[in-house]
Amino acid sequence: MGFNIYDFTGMTHNMHVSFMEHMSPLMTTIVEWTIIGVCYLLFIALFGLFLVYAERKVCAMFQQRMGPMRVGYWGLLQTIADFIKLLMKELITPKGVDKFLYNLAPFIIMIATFMAMAVLPFAKGLQTLDFDIGVFYVTAVSSIGVIGILIAGWSSNNKYSLIGAMRSGAQILSYELSVSLSLVTMIILAGSMQLSVIVEGQRDAWFIFKGHVPALIAFVIFLIAGTAETNRGPFDLAEAESELTAGFHTEYSGIKFAFFFLAEYINMFIVAAMAVTVFLGGWMPLHFGSLESFNHVMDFIPPLVWFFLKVGGVIFLIMWFKWTFPRLRVDQILTLEWKYLLPINLVNILLMSLVVLTKFHL
Amino acid sequence: MTNEELQAYLTGEFPKAEVTLGKQYVEMIVKSEDLVETSIKLKGMPQLSMDYLFCLTGVDYPEKMQIVYHLESTKHRHVLVMKCDTADRVDPKVDSVREIWRTAKYHEREVYDLMGVHFNNHDDLRRLFLEDGWGFPLRKDYKDEVRIVER
């Protein structure tokens, strides 16, 4: 079994072959699914915890304070301590809730998050599903989450939750459009919806450089709409702490609340990963056309590092938004989408089509 | 207007009221049946235009309740203390001035809550701070057995 940090295709293939030698095909499938499931679970739990820690540190940085410092070195174990606390908390079910839906909602949100994770290419060969409609799949699956939010708000028997859920419904449905259309812009450039092909197409130059002006516009729109889709500030109307106490998850406690919390961070990761995959070259290293030696040095950095560095950068950007801007009002958020982002997006698609048709790109 | 001018003016304008020059402000005691009429005049007359009611409170005297209105004119910047005595101390009644100075609505609720003064024509005379059936703590005969606050 060869292990190559630049290309995981061989490794996964070898694993599959050795499983097949010892087990029946059905058993192989089951074992492989289990391994993948465990990997994703671990990844989501650990990366979620890390993101919570990172968020607290980043926000502390913006606010001229230290953030968590007491538990572990530089507070590294703080989020783990918090997680244990959440696990041990009592699960309170308030009176008058629709019990089935109330308990179902956190799982729907988590499932939507898991499903979207499936197609993300972390590195060459490190991708669970390689659909030919990968981009389409992500946009479709990521909007399942809103059903979870709506159910949570509806079943909680709380007016704040309901208002939060309704806001969230209106917001996510609207911003879904912008996310999809900005991705469509890039699909025109890439010529494929398959994520691995999209990444492969950025070997010589990332799409944000390749598509120059229209790609840059699409990137900005994607970032705005993506932030809105994850219900993060300044678009966190669904939670709107100062207005609706905690919005749709007001009535949730313990691990159920942790699910919502974790899903928010993982969704942020998914948005960042999509931005990286479609605009910033996925796991591809940074290359400049003629600088041979520079390109060569860049090639030495493993794709996983590239991927997570870029994702980290985009996540930092999204956190930056949250800790700088005040929250928008519900009518303003819809105005922004329907009156500004959507028309710009449509024109941008046209522009991109012209660019691609005239081959006016790198 | 200075206090002296104001006193002279008010004496001429409201013969039924008793206008005196207090230590700081001009004070005027009006009869409770003239209260609303006087108030409308105080606010409406351009020479007076007492449009800003900055304090409304009650004082429990041994034989009467007195409602005290501190008024200021935002135009002329003179201040008047208008007082209105109620006839009955135990079940005091006085007309509401909430339609003349809107802020009086809640100040009157407070006075009702703490002193038990009933304001006629008040549209929403409920207790403000305390629970129903508490008693009227700012009356001098109020006894609190638990937390003894006595003068």
């Binding site: 500030g233 100062s242 929250r327 519900v330 | 004082v59 100040h107």
Partner: protein, 377 residues
């Protein structure tokens, strides 16, 4: 609930599409235990009925049982952010009643402390305003600067918020030798920090959209509802007691009463920021010229006010604060009434916020700068 019905059936027909939400008594944006019974239609606020009294502590009743110097200690529990102004109101009221003239030194120090309190209060208001609008970072910027003022307070009188620095006839003790230097250092630093406030919030597009043309209060309404302080001045209601009935060292300093006529949330916001500049200006005029002298007049051991009624108005950070003392010549007052600015300001909320969205209600409420113990007393 009878009051529930009352609001729903407030007009002739029953509004079936309205629903009631209890904002409070525990709610992040009411900053204390205030309860607003809000009737909503979708997101739009129809009617707001404030319910107060959750921390009514009967201060007025307590005052009847204690002596005048003791009353001062209760006053800073009301509006704990402008504690010094409240203390001063009682002290001034007693001094005026006894016709005691305090030394200039006392007046100067009181005024400086007033303005420092105002700065600290406005800083906290600014933090909370940002937080109510979802910008949490403002909170830490404001608190960072407020800490310096609280440190000065701590060094001067031992307490950070409930300062209790006043006595009838002067101050409890003289200022700390470091006082002038520290205040000057603070002002020098704060003058560089205050523009940061503008950079972070005032110029922000989202912030401006949230507060511009929201929550209008006309001049007429402001006067009728007795809305004072920066909230009233935003509507053009010239109600600065420091100008109209000056006390302490205010007659000796130059400052401007900031007025605007637009009366929306942003104007109320801007006036407070401008008031901070004015406060800095006032302190700068006084800090170097504190005259030598006694820090208190010798008063009798037991202070008895002459028979009569006394009223003292001061400008607290929230608006006009008034003390009304009725004395019958004994050592404790016959009746004390505190006219608190928050009480009047709160009840104008319905006028301002009805017809706006819930998010705007929160924004408007923060521009009123409510302190709940100030309302409940």
């Amino acid at each position: 609930m009878s009051e529930t019905k009352e609001i729903i059936i407030s007009t002739d027909k029953i509004h079936t599409d309205q629903y009631l939400v209890n904002m409070g008594p525990q709610h992040p944006s009411t900053h204390g235990v205030l309860r607003l019974l809000v009737s909503l239609e979708g997101e739009v606020v129809h009617h707001i009925q404030p319910h107060v009294g959750y921390i009514h502590s009967g201060i007025e009743k307590m005052c009847e049982a204690i002596s005048y110097p003791q009353i001062i200690h209760l006053t800073d529990r009301m509006d704990y952010l402008s504690a010094h102004m409240n203390n001063e109101a009682v002290a001034l009221c007693v001094e005026n009643a006894l016709q005691v003239e305090v030394p200039d030194r006392v007046k100067y120090i009181r005024t400086i402390m007033d303005e420092l309190s105002r700065l600290a209060s406005h800083q906290l208001w600014w933090c909370v305003m940002g937080m109510d609008l979802g910008a949490l970072t403002t909170f830490f910027y404001g608190l960072r600067d407020r800490e310096h003022i609280l440190d000065i307070f701590e060094e001067t009188c031992g307490a950070r918020m409930t300062v209790n620095y006043n006595l009838p006839g002067g101050l409890m003790f003289d200022i700390h030798p470091n006082f002038q230097k520290r205040v000057k250092d603070f002002l020098k630093e704060f003058k560089t920090k205050l523009p940061e406030y503008d950079e972070l919030l005032t110029g922000n597009v989202i912030f401006r959209q949230r507060v511009d043309n929201i929550g209008h209060l006309t001049l007429e309404d402001a006067i009728a509802w007795g809305v004072t302080g920066p909230s009233g001045r935003g509507s053009g209601f010239s109600c600065d007691v420091r100008k109209h009935q000056p006390y302490s060292a205010y007659p000796m300093v130059q400052f401007e009463e900031k007025l605007d006529t637009k009366g929306d949330s942003f104007v109320r916001y801007r006036l407070r920021i401008e008031e901070m500049w004015e406060s800095i200006h006032i302190i700068e005029q006084l800090i170097d010229n504190i005259p030598e002298g006694d820090y208190a007049v010798k008063m009798k051991g037991v202070i008895k006010l002459p028979e009569g009624e006394f009223y003292q108005r001061v400008e607290s950070a929230r608006g006009e604060f008034g003390v009304y003392i009725v004395s019958d010549g004994k050592k404790n007052p016959y009746r004390v009434k505190f006219r608190s600015p928050g009480f009047s300001n709160l009840f104008a909320l319905n006028k301002m916020a009805a017809g706006h969205k819930i998010a705007d209600l929160v924004a408007i409420m923060s521009t009123l700068d409510l302190v709940i113990p100030d309302i409940d007393r």
